[in-house]
């Protein structure tokens, strides 16, 4: 018993900060449970959300998870910056700092950016291509619940058992059991493995959806650019994630079953872990940023009132980027010393990526050129993205110069670079998409005035945080250090950087406040097309009805909805409405996620009976899901007609 308690609650989870987190978790859980009980909402929660296979609702759940991830990762970031604000600070100890930057990086990549991207895929892609759902609706729900339970598992680590501490990259031999006996790394390995299964399934799902379920007449070259970016991202996921799966699985075997793939002893090869991790890792950064490119391509065309400039070049450059992205991974470990030939090859291939990326930047600018640009919040994020991302890209090319990288590597120059592209590219893009598609999700727009405050705090905060870090890097401050002495010239830039981080925090708080405010004072979108959009999702009422399209659209051009508006073909005919068949809800995906959670938790603590019970549940549910058809339900035509009459879109 005491042994079990010591395992569950080692000293690292009994620090005041962790105990405070415990208290707030308990309070929040009790409050939510009490609220659901008082309002009698448990059944509603189960029927409407936990068992849903509707891509729009799954998208909203991804979005909620992503905002929670942004909160957790953001709090971690502020803790790190607080520790670094002044020299010789004693706010966090060395071990604590390691745990927090590991958690921050892992959450931001896997449990903030990825779900945010899948949220927007789920919400927008089927609507943009004129489909009633994704190709495999139940698999879509399975992906979500694997992700959600993995997120829960990862987040538990800091209050039960201890956090991972080997960086978001979890390099061997930092993860080797001999050097790192706490269960923290097990959480990392199991949680990422479980959510990785869901991610691969999502990649397959959207690949098939886009290839097979496009509206009649929508050829590939008539697809909205966001759909193109989702198609390419999906193929990147399918080809890249298996490398991560292997790297994590072998590390898990080393830690849990005594093998020696990456150990120092027994002829293990720690460097092979690094190699495998980045075979996945570099494509991963394009998995993160290509969707943002897609979002910007939609937003810039809509708010410039013009068709996207150079559509074929945009598509071609995205394909070029995705192919090149497989051939550059060594730039993450030039300093391993693989030799001049290897490094030169990968340095040059890396620089080549700048070319298609530059093509895209010019095309976005030319789209605005001569257009009537409306500076809504969605567009502001786009406008801020272009210069920010260009600078992030330029410093990336600097890092690709091998001799230079021997100086920059793992310094704050690198930290500044990757935040420059991850925040300036990915997060700005996701925020832009959030503002853009919000009315389609919820039926009202977000408050623009508050949104602009959030934008300016975030943007200025961003530059104040990360510009000084380039200087710090050049001054020799290395990454992942928790303390530094006086008198190195690092004190002022660090203080400024921390100030900027707090400004970004304020921006985030304003954003959340604005979401709450907009939900209470709804600025309803009655037209379904609040931005004068160009693509099919704006052809239906907001929020999108359960069945998406009352009548599937026929597409004859790019920017299909724009063409329909020009030709005055915006309403649908009564006679064309037919009954619509949709898949039924099912609890299987949720239970599958739960079983994986149990199996994962069992493996984390090496409680094998628990792990086997979880795996048994997985197997049973898969067999059940194989043989039992969940079936469909039919929405009768008169119901479709009624819900379409409300917005007055019907023509007798």
């Amino acid at each position: 018993m005491t042994h079990l308690l010591a395992q569950l609650f080692p000293p690292s989870v009994l620090r005041p900060m962790e105990l405070g987190a415990d208290a707030s978790i308990v309070i929040a859980t009790v409050a939510i449970a009490a609220f659901l009980t008082r309002k009698r909402r448990w059944g509603w929660l189960w029927r409407e959300w936990l068992t849903t296979v509707d891509h729009k609702k799954i998208g909203i759940m991804y979005l909620i998870a992503a905002m929670l991830g942004l909160f957790r990762g953001g709090v971690d970031a502020l803790l790190l910056r607080t520790q670094l604000a002044v020299p010789q600070n004693t706010f966090l100890g060395a071990e604590h700092y390691n745990e927090i930057f590991t958690t921050h990086g892992t959450i931001m990549v896997f449990f903030m950016a990825m779900p945010f991207i899948f949220a927007l895929f789920n919400i927008a892609i089927p609507l943009m291509i004129g489909a009633r759902d994704v190709a495999f609706p139940r698999l879509n729900a399975i992906s979500f619940w694997l992700f959600a339970f993995a997120f829960l598992l990862f987040n538990m680590s800091f209050v039960v058992g201890g956090s991972p501490n080997a960086g978001w990259t979890a390099y061997a031999p930092l993860t080797e059991l001999r050097f790192n006996p706490s269960v923290g790394e097990n959480y990392y390995l199991l949680a990422l493995q479980i959510s990785g299964i869901g991610t691969i399934a999502t990649g397959i799902n959207f690949l098939v959806t886009i290839l097979r379920l496009r509206a009649p007449g929508m050829t590939l070259m008539r697809m909205p650019l966001f759909a193109w970016s989702a198609l390419i991202t999906s193929s990147l996921i399918i080809f890249a994630f298996p490398a991560l799966t292997v790297a994590l699985a072998l590390t898990m075997l080393d830690r849990l079953f005594g093998s020696s793939f990456f150990t120092i002893g027994h002829a293990g090869m720690p460097m092979m872990y690094v190699n495998l991790f980045w075979i996945w890792g570099h494509p991963e950064v394009y998995i993160l940023v290509l969707p943002a490119f897609g979002i910007f391509s939609e937003v810039v065309a809509t708010f410039s009132g013009k068709a996207l400039f150079g559509y074929p070049a945009m598509v071609g450059s995205m394909i070029a980027i995705s192919l090149l992205s497989y051939g550059v991974w060594v730039h993450h470990f030039f300093t391993m010393g693989a030799g001049a030939a290897v490094n030169a090859f990968f340095g040059i291939s890396t620089m080549l990526i700048a070319i298609p990326t530059g093509v895209k930047v010019f095309n976005w600018i030319f789209t605005m050129w001569g257009g009537r640009v409306r500076t809504t919040c969605a567009m502001l994020w786009q406008l801020a993205f272009i210069p920010t991302f260009v600078i992030g890209g330029a410093t990336g090319v600097m890092l690709a110069v091998v001799p230079g990288d021997y100086q920059f590597h793992n310094s704050y120059f690198l930290v500044a670079h990757f935040h420059n592209v991850l925040i300036g590219g990915v997060v700005f893009g996701l925020f832009s998409g959030l503002y853009y598609w919000w009315p389609k999700m919820f039926g009202y727009t977000l408050n623009e005035r508050q949104g602009k405050w959030a934008f300016w705090f975030f943007l200025i905060g961003f530059w104040v945080t990360f510009f000084p870090q380039y200087l710090l890097g050049l001054e020799g401050m290395t990454r992942r250090i928790y303390i530094y002495p006086h008198g190195l010239g690092w004190s002022l830039p660090n203080l400024v950087s921390t100030g900027g981080a707090y400004a970004m925090g304020v921006g985030f708080v304003i954003l959340v406040y604005s979401i709450a405010y907009s939900a209470r004072h709804k600025d309803l979108d009655l037209t379904g097309d609040p931005w004068d959009g160009r693509t099919l999702e704006w052809s239906m009422p907001s929020p999108a009805p359960e069945y998406n399209f009352a009548v599937l659209p026929k597409v004859s051009t790019r920017d299909a909805w724009w063409t329909m508006k020009q030709a005055g073909r915006t309403s649908i005919r009564l006679g064309e409405i037919e009954p619509i068949t949709l898949p039924k809800n099912t609890g299987m995906p949720f239970l599958l996620g739960l079983s994986f959670f149990v199996a994962g938790l069992g493996a984390v603590f090496s409680w094998w009976p628990v792990a086997l019970a979880g795996l048994g549940g997985v197997l049973a549910l898969l067999v059940w899901g194989w043989f039992v058809e969940t079936g469909d339900h039919v929405i009768p035509a008169h119901e479709v007609r009624r819900s379409e009459t409300l917005p007055g879109r019907l023509e007798a």
Partner: protein
């Protein structure tokens, strides 16, 4: 293949009914079950070979590689519906691409990791 073409058109015209792809279940789930059992067996065989030192270290990698390729073939054939489907054989394009990526990863990894012999 008149029947196949009809299915294709059905998918494209997208009556809501066709949201879920329906494969022709001619043989039931048996190929999958056999494939699963074979995959487990081959994995077990590889593990035993390593754990119990059943083969001289010189030949071990080659044998394991052979088992891996065999298993990949089984999984593609029996799980991935490689031979089912209608219309043009897009699977082949994806397979060739996968082959190139896999081969590239192996060759480049060997090249990258070859530095070890120079260092240690």
């Amino acid at each position: 293949m008149p029947h196949a073409r009809k299915t294709e058109r059905g998918l494209l015209s997208l009556g809501g009914l066709l949201l879920l792809p329906r494969f022709e279940h001619s043989s039931g789930p048996w190929p999958q079950i056999v494939g699963y059992a074979l995959s487990l067996l081959l994995t077990l065989a590889a593990t035993l070979l390593v754990v119990h030192h059943l083969i001289a270290p010189l030949y071990l990698p080659a044998v394991i590689l052979f088992l891996a390729v065999l298993q990949a073939g089984i999984q593609l054939g029996l799980f991935m519906h490689l031979r089912e489907g209608v219309g043009p054989s897009w699977q082949i394009v994806a397979l060739v691409l996968a082959g190139i990526v896999a081969l590239g990863i192996v060759i480049f990894s060997i090249w990258i990791m070859a530095f070890k012999s120079g260092v240690s």
